[in-house]
C-alpha cells in the first residue's frame, strides 16, 4: 500500500479487427 510516484499508467488496447492489412509502412513493394 505504499504511495506510488506514478509517471504514467495505461490500458493500451489493440483492436486488430480494425487494422489495415499490414502494420508497417516499409518499402511496400508487395502492396
Amino acid at each position: 500500500g505504499a504511495p506510488l510516484p506514478v509517471l504514467v499508467t495505461a490500458l493500451y488496447g489493440r483492436v486488430f479487427e480494425k487494422d489495415p492489412p499490414r502494420l508497417g509502412q516499409g518499402p511496400g513493394k508487395l502492396q
Partner: protein, 448 residues
C-alpha cells in the same frame, strides 16, 4: 524441463560506416565478426551460468544503416530448417555461409540455443511478377540454432518499418514455432509484436509457451517504450517473452528484458552508458500449467457496469505520439473522472498524497487508427503526468514525478480483449507487481 534459464543480451551494435556503394564480402564479414565477437562473450558467459537459450537483438550482426544494394554483401542464403542442417559440422552445404557457421558453432560449442538476427537472400526471376528488379528477395531474418548447432527456426520479419528499405516483405506472415525440452517457442521480430499475424496467432492458436523477440526498438515516451510495452504484452498474452534490444542511446534504443505472464523477471534500461548488458532469469517452461498462471481478464466488465462519473470540468485535446487524445485534468488530490472518445469511456478513481501546484496530471482516452510509422488501431485509457503545469505539454516525455498516489483504479469500456496494462513510476522504472494488480473485471489498480 519444468523450468529453464533464459538469457537476453542487449547489444551495442558496432555499425558499419555509411557507404554509397556496397563493400566487399570480406569487409562485410569483418564487420559482422566484430559484432559476433561481442556476442560470443555473452553466449559463453550465459552458458557458464547455466542458460539454456540466449536471445540477441535485431540487426545485431550488422546494424541498420543500409540501402538495398549496400546490405547485399552481408546476406547469406538461409535454408528452411526442414533441411536438418548443422552449419558448424557441414558449413558449405548451402554455399558460403560463414555467419551461420559461426553462430551454429557458438551454440554447439557452448551447448546453448542461440537466437540471432541476420539477412537472408533468395533468388527470383521474371516468372515471379513480384520479383524485385535485381533478381532477389532480401529478408530481415531471425535464426535459431539448438544446443547441437542445428538450424531449428528461420523467421522473416513481416511488419517492416518505414526505414527498412533494404528488405522485402515476405509474401505472407510466417508462423514460426519449434519444440524444445523447455517448452514450445515462437519467434518474430520487433514491430511484429504489435500485430495479430504473427504475434497473437503464435500465442493463441499455436499455444507457444515462450516468445523470442529480437528487436531494435527506439523508445517513444510515454506509452511506447520497450520495457513497459513488452512487459505489458507478456502479461496480456500470458506467455514468457524474451526481448533483446539493441543499445544506442543517441537513438533512444535501450530496454531488454525477460518477462513472465505473472511478473517481470529482469529488465535493463540504460540511457547513461554505451555498454551492452547480459541478463538471465529462470522461467517456467510451461506457464499455462502453473498455479501462478494469470486468469483471463474481461477488460470492459467493470467499466461497462458503472455509470460515467459526471464532472463540470471542461475536457481538452492533446497529442500523444501523433494520436489526438481527449484529456481531463485531475484538479484535486482525490476524485473520480470519466473521459470518453468515440466508443471508449475511461474511468479513474484516485487519491494523491497531496495535490502539488507544480505538477499536473490528466486522464486521457484515445479510440482511433494510429497512422504514423505504422498503421494500427488503438483504444487507450491513460493517467499521466504532463511535462509541466502547462496542459499543452500533456503527452510529452516525462522522466520524474514527486506526486505520489495512495490509490488509483483505471478501467475502460474496451471493445477488444487485447489490452496491455502499463505502470511506469518516476525514473522510468517499472512498478513491481507487489504494488499493483489487474482485477478480473478489468481494473488496473494499486494494491492496498
Amino acid at each position: 524441463l519444468d523450468t529453464f534459464i533464459a538469457a537476453v543480451y542487449e547489444h551495442a551494435v558496432i555499425l558499419p560506416n555509411r557507404t554509397e556503394t556496397p563493400v566487399s564480402k570480406d569487409e562485410a564479414l569483418v564487420l559482422m565478426n566484430k559484432n559476433i565477437d561481442v556476442l560470443e562473450k555473452a553466449v559463453k558467459l550465459a552458458a557458464t551460468q547455466g542458460a539454456h537459450i540466449i536471445v540477441t537483438p535485431e540487426d545485431g550482426i550488422y546494424g541498420w544503416v543500409f540501402t538495398r544494394e549496400t546490405i547485399y554483401p552481408y546476406l547469406e542464403d538461409i535454408p528452411d530448417p526442414e533441411v536438418n542442417w548443422i552449419p558448424c559440422r557441414d558449413p558449405q552445404r548451402f554455399g558460403h555461409a560463414p555467419v551461420q557457421e559461426r553462430l551454429s558453432c557458438l551454440a554447439k560449442d557452448n551447448s546453448i540455443y542461440v537466437v540471432a538476427n541476420i539477412g537472408d537472400k533468395k533468388p527470383c526471376n521474371a516468372s515471379d511478377p513480384q520479383c524485385p528488379r535485381d533478381g532477389r528477395y532480401q529478408y530481415n531474418t531471425d535464426v535459431v540454432f539448438d544446443s547441437e548447432g542445428r538450424l531449428v527456426a528461420r523467421y522473416h520479419k513481416y511488419n517492416l518499418f518505414a526505414p527498412e528499405v533494404q528488405f522485402d516483405f515476405p509474401k505472407a506472415s510466417e508462423l514460426v514455432t519449434f519444440d524444445t525440452p523447455f517448452g514450445k517457442l515462437g519467434v518474430f521480430t520487433c514491430f511484429d509484436i504489435f500485430s495479430h499475424d504473427p504475434a497473437v496467432v503464435v500465442v493463441d492458436e499455436l499455444q507457444v509457451d515462450s516468445v523470442l523477440l529480437p528487436t531494435a526498438w527506439y523508445n517513444t515516451l510515454p506509452l511506447l517504450s520497450a520495457v513497459p510495452f513488452h512487459s505489458a504484452w507478456a502479461k496480456a498474452l500470458r506467455v514468457n517473452l524474451l526481448a533483446a534490444n539493441t543499445h544506442n542511446t543517441t537513438m533512444h534504443m535501450t530496454g531488454s528484458g525477460i518477462y513472465a505472464p505473472e511478473a517481470v523477471k529482469v529488465y535493463h534500461y540504460d540511457m547513461e552508458t554505451e555498454s551492452g548488458q547480459l541478463m538471465l532469469s529462470e522461467l517456467k517452461s510451461r506457464p499455462r500449467r502453473e498455479p501462478t498462471y494469470p486468469e483471463a481478464v474481461d477488460w470492459r466488465a467493470y467499466a461497462s457496469s458503472i455509470e460515467p462519473f459526471l464532472s463540470e470540468q471542461s475536457e481538452f485535446q492533446g497529442m500523444i505520439y501523433f494520436d489526438k487524445f481527449t484529456f481531463t485534468e485531475l484538479k484535486k488530490n482525490r476524485g473520480n473522472y470519466t473521459v470518453c472518445q468515440k466508443d471508449l469511456c475511461c474511468h479513474l478513481t484516485y487519491q494523491m498524497s497531496e495535490k502539488r501546484s507544480d505538477e499536473a496530471f490528466v486522464l486521457g482516452a484515445f479510440d482511433g487508427l494510429h497512422v504514423v510509422e505504422g498503421q494500427y488501431y488503438l483504444q487507450i485509457c491513460t493517467l499521466l503526468k504532463c511535462q509541466t503545469t502547462d496542459l499543452g505539454t500533456c503527452g510529452e516525455p516525462v522522466g520524474s514525478a514527486f506526486t505520489t498516489f495512495e490509490e488509483f483504479s483505471l478501467s475502460g469500456t474496451f471493445g477488444t480483449s487485447y489490452v496491455f496494462p502499463q505502470l511506469v513510476l518516476s525514473g522510468s522504472q517499472l512498478a513491481p507487481e507487489r504494488h499493483y494488480e489487474v482485477s478480473r473485471d478489468g481494473r488496473l489498480r494499486n494494491r492496498s
